[in-house]
């Protein structure tokens, strides 16, 4: 029974506080926040904390970090604490230990896309599911209501999503009505063509080492520090690729595969173990470094991921690596603290001599509609340049990439088709759509 009470119930209090606080802050505070982002250096760094070389931004978060650390001590059980803990680790100076010196660069290997990992081979089993639908559609002589139902079901089952499905089918219906499509076969072909068009809309080329703007011939060895000191030409920036995404999608494995491919084509690759949170993540990436003939920079577990990336860029410049591939910890996109941490990693990675040329969102093909939300947040936060769609060798179709492309303009650039180091192919929209049907 509701009765106005003088003292609100415990839970009402909590809701009230929880709601009132951000409203107060939002009302007055958003303006504060916006203005302060433009300024630097005005807020006090708490005494005793030393700004690391990596973080030359005087982050206002620092003072909040220190306070949050104190608060976190007394309340370690919040779901958000994983994020808070992650974002409030004091920057630990990385000692760059455990860099495994790489062997001499191997002979240039087979070009990208060739080799045992092809769509059709791996997707053979998965094909069966959907072709059943379209087989039924095609075998009927005409297009009727059941046809549309079956097409809709096929698309939904592929995780294309209600919105994109409705839109695609509405367009096709209009064309059928206008007489542009005359039968089920033509309809299926038109649907496939539409999907391919959507998936080809954005540029899916990778910014490979040596392919930077203005550079025509591949840069094999950037000048060493000694050479630069001797004035032997401009220091070329260090290309950095960031791998981001939620937990369990296959970021670390993908870094290993990409490293392998780049190393096979002659580039000197350096991995940055930017996942400093997950137990044994550095060890996992080290094993990939060995498989891929790449070097690796690791930091202290629980340390600041930005520092690791910074150190890696420095090392790459010093030792002449063509590219730094930075792994990051998996993070759910609705955890603001962790997304802030990621923004910082990107900022640090992009400071000269670092140049962020790819920010790849690694996405699990089994992901449903939440994939779109993930893409949206990561895109906004760190300017994702493309998607790596993993685990496509399973039964999941990965259709969410259609919505991601349609709504966000984000192309799929690479596809993961297994757990082996070679199981990586360039995205091919036509083959992808074909293999779905």
């Amino acid at each position: 029974m509701i009765e106005p009470s003088l003292v609100a119930s415990g839970s009402e209090v909590l809701i009230g506080v929880v709601v009132a606080v951000p409203l107060l802050i939002v009302g007055g505070g958003v303006a504060i926040g916006l203005r302060l982002r433009g300024r630097g250096g005005k807020s006090p760094v708490p005494p005793g904390e030393v700004a690391s070389d990596a973080a030359t931004d005087v982050e206002l978060a620092r003072s909040a970090d220190a306070a949050a650390d104190a608060a976190a001590d007394t309340a370690a059980d919040t779901a958000g604490a994983a994020g808070a803990a992650g974002a409030t680790r004091a920057p630990a100076p990385t000692d760059g230990r455990a860099e495994t010196p790489g062997p001499p660069a191997p002979e240039p290997g087979p070009g990208p896309g060739a080799g045992p990992a092809t769509y059709r081979g791996r997707l053979g089993k998965a094909r069966g599911l959907l072709s059943g639908y379209l087989g039924a559609v095609r075998s009927k002589g005409k297009i009727d209501a059941a046809t549309w139902d079956e097409l809709e079901e096929a698309l939904i089952r592929a995780d294309v999503g209600v919105g994109a499905t409705d839109s695609l089918l509405a367009d096709l219906k209009a064309r059928v009505k206008a007489g542009e499509i005359d039968g089920p076969d033509a309809l299926v072909e038109a649907l496939k063509a539409d999907l391919v068009t959507v998936l080809s809309a954005a540029d899916a080329t990778l910014s490979l080492p040596g392919s930077g703007p203005g550079s025509v011939e591949p840069v094999v060895e950037p000048p060493t520090s000694a050479q630069r000191a001797a004035g032997a030409g401009e220091a070329s920036p260090v290309d950095v690729w960031l791998f981001v995404g939620v937990n369990g999608v296959g970021k670390t494995t993908t870094v290993g595969k990409v490293a392998n491919r780049l190393a096979a084509s002659g580039a000197k690759v350096l991995l940055a173990a930017g996942d400093t949170f997950r137990a044994a993540a550095g060890e996992q990436l080290s094993q990939w470094a060995s498989r891929a003939d790449a070097d690796i920079v690791r930091g202290a577990e629980g340390g600041d991921p930005s520092s690791v990336v910074f150190d890696a860029v420095q090392r790459a410049e010093a030792k002449g690596h063509a590219v730094v591939l930075a792994d990051t910890a998996g993070r759910l996109h609705n955890k603001v603290n962790l997304i802030e941490e990621l923004k910082k990693i990107r900022r640090v990675a992009g400071r000269p001599p670092g140049r962020v040329v790819e920010v790849l969102l690694v996405l699990d093909a089994t992901t449903g509609q939440n994939g779109l939300a993930q893409a949206r947040v990561f895109l906004e936060a760190v300017d994702v340049t493309g998607v790596v769609l993993t685990k496509l060798d399973g039964t999941a179709k990965g259709g969410i990439v259609v919505a991601i492309q349609r709504e966000l303009g984000l192309p799929v650039k690479l596809v993961g088709l297994g757990e082996g180091v070679d199981d990586l192919v360039d995205f091919d929209p036509a083959a992808f759509v074909d293999a779905l049907f």
Binding site: M1, I2, V17, L60, A64, A81
Partner: protein, 520 residues
């Protein structure tokens, strides 16, 4: 573009108030909306079909009640059906008469098995058992090491070897017997359901250690594939239950419904974060709300109660209501809120929160909380208690002290004054009045629930009624009212720290049952 389910229903059904019953045509329209909502929530399309049929049979000819709007009635039915499927038998672990009780975890790559293994073992330890972990994932680089680190954190030893997964599992079982452990938790490598070799391998592992419980670990953000994967694992292993992971994300989690429907075994546990203690019993009623896009208020309350200092919060509330809430009090409350983690995460759990507020709030981060804190800390105690004395000179001093501009200080003071006024409303109209006022603050003064409507909801929802006031916020009472009402006694309960109602009573679900292990 999120539009609440009941909003959609209201649109369809608003014209029905004059008529007495729902017709076939009405029901068809409503079912289309339900179908869309469930598909958007990633419920598998076949499961959606079956579900909507079940709802149809309950809706056709439904006599419209006078207390609830048709939309609310339909939501209630949908919610009950969902909870019925998601709930049902609870998994009760029955320990083997001859220890150890063997638990086997299986699932796709990246679903969270290794973390879940450690959490589960820790859970058993908390139940007073003496578990041993077995790292049988020899495929993923450093998987065993990861388990060792987690085991170390939980104080549970981990057994592994470098032979092959079946041999490791067997050896682990022997080791458990040798050490006198009474529970064995076996982590395995992720595997595709269509990988015949690996599915064969997990069958062999199961054959070798004869688990008492086999759990499928599945990611809450899984899409349509959930059914195909769950069926395949169930066929291979005869699952006893499911562990749903990464529920701290914002995926609606329709996979839970799909898997439950297809496997027919309980969802035993919910993993709600990356830390070892982020492991709870699964709550069907909360999952139902979440799938329908209605947020998870109870989790929010639990989170709040867990992390906030109750005394501080209540003291602050008393001050709020009695109109003597000062900046000092606010500073204290700020600390509490900071403990709860990200603002947007917290707000995203509240239904009926206007979207722009959610978006604006996601811009609020520790940085901004830090700023507000700094400003207040730069005030003297006297200023905090009575901001009216803060003149121009004081504002400049405060601004300088906190590294902000005087306009920031002005803005904060102004907002605070508004908030004080609004808080006075807490004493009078209850939370609804206060929060309705909040809506007004942002120019979105939504229709507050009439006292009669609130009373009706209270009557329906028992002690849950006092959360009805939240509907006043954001101008979306129907959505929230509709959402909260069917879930019955799962409201705030009106007292802090008290046991929460279990959420299964009074529903049409089957009573709590026992799942006994397979006969050995």
């Amino acid at each position: 573009m999120f539009e609440s389910l009941s909003d959609r229903f209201e649109g369809i059904l608003s014209r029905l108030r004059s008529r007495g019953r729902l017709t076939d045509a009405d029901v068809d329209e409503v079912l289309r909306e339900i179908r869309t909502a469930l598909l958007e929530a990633d419920v598998e399309i076949g499961v959606v079909r079956g579900f909507t049929e079940a709802v149809r049979s309950r809706c056709v000819g439904l006599e419209l009640s006078r207390a609830l709007s048709p939309g609310q009635q339909v939501i209630k039915i949908v919610n009950e059906e969902l909870v019925g499927i998601l709930g049902g038998e609870t998994l009760k672990i029955t320990y083997a008469s001859r220890p150890p009780t063997v638990i086997l975890l299986a699932g796709l790559q990246g679903s969270g098995k290794t973390t879940a293994s450690a959490k589960l073992a820790r859970w058993f330890k908390q139940q007073g058992r003496n578990p041993l972990l077995v790292g049988a994932d020899l495929q993923r680089p450093a998987a065993v090491e990861q388990l060792r680190v987690l085991g170390g954190q939980a104080g549970i030893s981990v057994f592994s070897d470098t032979t092959d997964p079946v041999a490791v599992a067997v050896a682990g079982l022997e080791e458990a017997k040798r050490l006198g452990r009474d529970v064995l938790v076996v982590d395995t490598a992720g595997r595709l359901s269509i990988d015949e070799d690996l599915m064969d391998e997990i069958r062999r592992i199961a054959g070798a250690v004869d688990p008492h419980y086999t759990f499928l670990v599945i990611d809450a953000m899984t899409g349509q594939d959930a059914v195909s994967t769950a069926s395949a694992f169930h066929d291979a292993l005869s699952l006893d239950g499911v562990i749903l992971t990464k529920l701290d994300g914002d995926a609606r989690g329709g996979a839970a419904l799909s898997v439950k429907e297809v496997v027919g075994r309980p969802i035993a546990f919910a993993s709600t974060g990356e830390k070892l203690d982020d492991f709870d019993q699964f709550h069907p009623d909360r999952m139902a709300d979440r799938i329908l896009g209605m947020g998870d208020v109870l989790s929010l309350i639990e989170q709040a109660e867990r992390t906030m200092d109750q005394d501080v919060a209540t003291k602050g509330a008393a001050a709020m209501i009695e109109g003597r809430f000062t900046l000092e009090d606010f500073l204290e409350q700020l600390q509490q809120v900071k403990k709860m983690g990200s603002m947007s995460g917290v707000l995203s759990l509240l239904p009926g929160v206007p979207k722009d507020l959610k978006q604006a709030s996601s811009a609020v981060d520790d940085r901004q909380i830090g700023q507000v804190e700094a400003i207040i800390r730069s005030m003297t105690p006297g200023e905090r208690v009575d901001p009216a004395i803060i003149d121009g000179a004081r504002r400049v001093r405060i601004a300088n002290g906190s590294g902000t501009a005087t306009s920031d200080v002005n803005a904060l003071l102004k907002q605070f004054k508004e908030m004080q006024k609004m808080m006075k409303g807490l004493g009078k109209g209850g939370m609804g009045g206060a929060l309705g006022g909040l809506g007004g603050m942002f120019g979105r003064g939504g229709p507050k629930l009439s006292p009669q409507a609130m009373a009706e909801m209270a009557a329906m929802g028992g002690p849950g009624g006092d959360l009805g006031g939240l509907a006043g916020m954001g101008g979306d009472p129907a959505a929230f009212g509709g959402g909260m009402a069917p879930t019955g006694a799962r409201g705030a309960g009106g007292s802090r720290g008290s046991a929460r109602p279990k959420g299964k009573g009074g529903k049409k679900g089957k009573g709590g049952g026992r799942v006994t292990p397979k006969a050995r």
